[in-house]
Point group: C2
Chain length 423, copies 2
């Protein structure tokens, strides 16, 4: 394909007529599709329905009746599965409720109110800053924004956050208290952190004594095309002598049921003890019936791994539809670049600067809802107005093909408009 950026004004105008015609054809279809969130499709979720069948035994391995009070930090057999799956000692795991986001928020609140490791509670500081590798996950940024922290954007590279930037920032500024990380199949780019990135995060010198990594391994076992091994941050921190630096989060939201799964927070011995001290006042314990449901359904970590292969088979044709359509319609157009994720839930694209909002708006007008432009940046503000997150999991392949065909037309239309403006 000829790059639109090499075209003359006249050529662009001719293309525009063509593209406008196609766009109108899509509008006439009155589509109503949603690619906004990383929401699994019903037929994918069906694969976990076995968990909603009649429970015939309510007892944990140690004889405990899970229908009654007790057990703050999770059933031992539930911890065991996470321990095996993620290679974290069971004693360093606390099993939480239905969502890891809630555990992240709660952990942030504990740091604000109680502080950690004997340092001043963050709520008593003049200023708290938090590093936000972007594009990233909007709900992460929203937690720290809600708490009044200043969000500092850090660029993403193909190996994770730009560690030169990160190291410089944290070494100089002691008000920088932490960083958000999605280390595997990152949201939205599908990037997997390199071992070097993990080691640098674990070992870097930080001006703040209580600098903390919020390690949201949301897609830790969510392969689609290829399983990638990402180094365990807890191990790396221990090796570097910064045992207490990282909080590790994971959940079964995108394994079993979004919003009705089981979540964990894992960390060093000291951190776990500190967390439990406050958690004891917060709750008698999380939902153990749901934990036992998960244990009975999966049996062990291999059960989870096998399940993830089934889900990969559900998602693969959808991701192929997105990637093949981009390839076919826009490769060489000069209007867009994109990542090829090996797993996770998203495809991240960058359109011409100043075009992302317009593309999302055009798609919306023609009946396809995309993630809001800017959502992947702190304060929902993408300085280049360039990044768009595509979430292919919810629609069917047929719907997705329509949505992607429209999306490519919108990218062309917005791109041509921009180039003509600048011509």
């Amino acid at each position: 394909m000829e790059s639109f950026r090499e075209m003359s004004k006249e050529e662009l105008q001719a293309q525009e007529v063509e593209v406008n015609k196609k766009y109108q054809e899509f509008k006439d279809l009155h589509l109503s599709l949603n690619m906004a969130r990383g929401k699994p499709a019903p037929d994918q979720i069906d694969h976990a329905n076995g968990m909603l069948e009649t429970m015939t035994d309510y007892h944990a391995k140690d004889g405990l009746d899970v229908r009654n009070y007790g057990v703050l930090d999770g059933l031992p057999e539930m911890k065991e599965i996470f321990s095996d799956l993620l290679d974290i000692p069971a004693k360093n795991i606390i099993v939480g409720g239905n969502a890891s986001l809630n555990l992240m928020f709660d952990q942030m609140m504990r740091l604000v109110v109680f502080g950690t490791a004997g340092e001043k509670p963050w709520g008593q500081l003049e200023k708290v800053k938090f590093l936000c590798p972007a594009p990233g996950y909007d709900r992460h940024f929203s937690v720290t924004e809600t708490l009044g922290f200043e969000l500092i954007t850090v660029d993403m590279t193909s190996e994770g956050p730009d560690m030169d930037q990160v190291e410089k920032l944290v070494a100089e500024d002691e008000s920088i208290k932490g960083i958000w990380c999605v280390p595997k199949y990152s949201n939205p780019q599908g990037i997997c952190y390199s071992d070097e990135t993990v080691d640098r995060l674990a070992s870097m010198k930080t001006a703040a004594k209580d600098f903390r990594i919020f390690w949201d391994n949301a897609y830790g076992v969510h392969l689609i095309f290829e399983d990638v091994k990402v180094k365990n941050i807890l191990d790396a921190c221990k090796e570097a002598g910064n045992d207490n630096r990282a909080y590790y989060f994971f959940s079964t939201s995108k394994i079993t049921f979004p919003g009705a799964g089981v979540s964990i927070i894992a960390s060093s011995d000291d951190n776990i003890a500190e967390i439990k001290k406050v958690m004891t006042a917060q709750t008698i314990g999380y939902d153990k019936i749901n934990q036992l449901r998960h244990v009975q359904f999966f049996k062990n970590a291999d059960g989870v791994r096998k399940h993830m292969q089934i889900l990969a088979d559900c998602l693969k044709p959808k991701f192929e539809t997105v990637l093949n359509t981009l390839e076919k319609e826009l490769k060489g157009s000069g209007l867009i670049t994109w990542e090829n994720p090996k797993g996770g839930y998203f495809v991240s694209v960058d359109v011409l600067p100043g075009c992302a909002k317009r593309v999302v708006e055009l798609a919306k007008e023609a009946g396809v809802t995309l993630t809001g432009a800017g959502a992947t940046y702190p304060y929902k503000n993408d300085p280049k107005d360039s990044n768009i997150r595509l979430a292919p999991s919810y629609p069917t392949v047929e719907e997705l093909q329509q949505a992607m065909d429209l999306f490519c037309v919108c990218v062309k239309k917005a791109g041509i408009e921009k180039l003509l403006e600048q011509a």
Copy 2:
């Protein structure tokens, strides 16, 4: 029965020999019984097992698939049941996770970090004090103690907290920010607040503009002998023009499954809006599958009411065992007074001052675990060392009879020891 307090030293010594013999007989039985917590018995919980049967429909009334993301504040049909049951408008209810204690803790954390109604966050104040009517619920006191608040004990009367004390304290001291209340079948005394108490709480002048009532209606529908109507604090606050004064909590922990039920926080329009603003950052939503399970099992508020009658029938013989044994063994002894609860989970007794710890210790040595003496007071410190909470729900009636027979012996033994000390 002749009062032990009227006996001569010689009579007491004779009684002591007798009691010691009986106590030894109990020790020889090697009992192992637990009356420490308000934990329902397995056969009581069995009545909710229907909820753990195969779900055949995963859709809410509006067609929403509850297995997927969405809905921050609860399924409309779940809110409807609570609304009808507790006489609170559905729009003023947020349905939470598996435990109302967690909602209370979270609400306290929000007040500490964000404040309310434009007032300074409590975490930024030099001092925060909280009123704790006692005897009361240890986990309430523990929440506020963990947050570093100063706990101020307020006496309980047969109509609720001593309102003369409360009104005087809150009028004078603006660092007093709130009060814990269990308004119906209170923990541990089973006291139901009078309308006058509710109205005085709602209308009293408080030095703190952001004084808040934590209204834990934990036993709101948990009758045993008689259903008592307690005035709705949210209505009372509205009538008094203090719309935002109360947070109302409730859960199905002791209706369906302890630790795997559904909880709510209810409050004024302003407060609910304020809560949702932060909650949006905390979670995408609570477990809707569990909410739908509850809806499908109960169908409506009447379904809950009928269920509570079944549970009352489970609990009645247990409470009768406790009360009849106290009556038979200790009435007129001068060693103990107790409340006759009409519902709830506990029987509260007061033994001779300085004897509660000794009674609990004696029972423990003979194999019966009671709630720790002092647990019902702030800082676990009962200034008179007199109150003991009996929790009859978990043991069988047969076990309970044994435990109560032993308990009465322990009360006599400790009482005689104390009287001899003073003789």
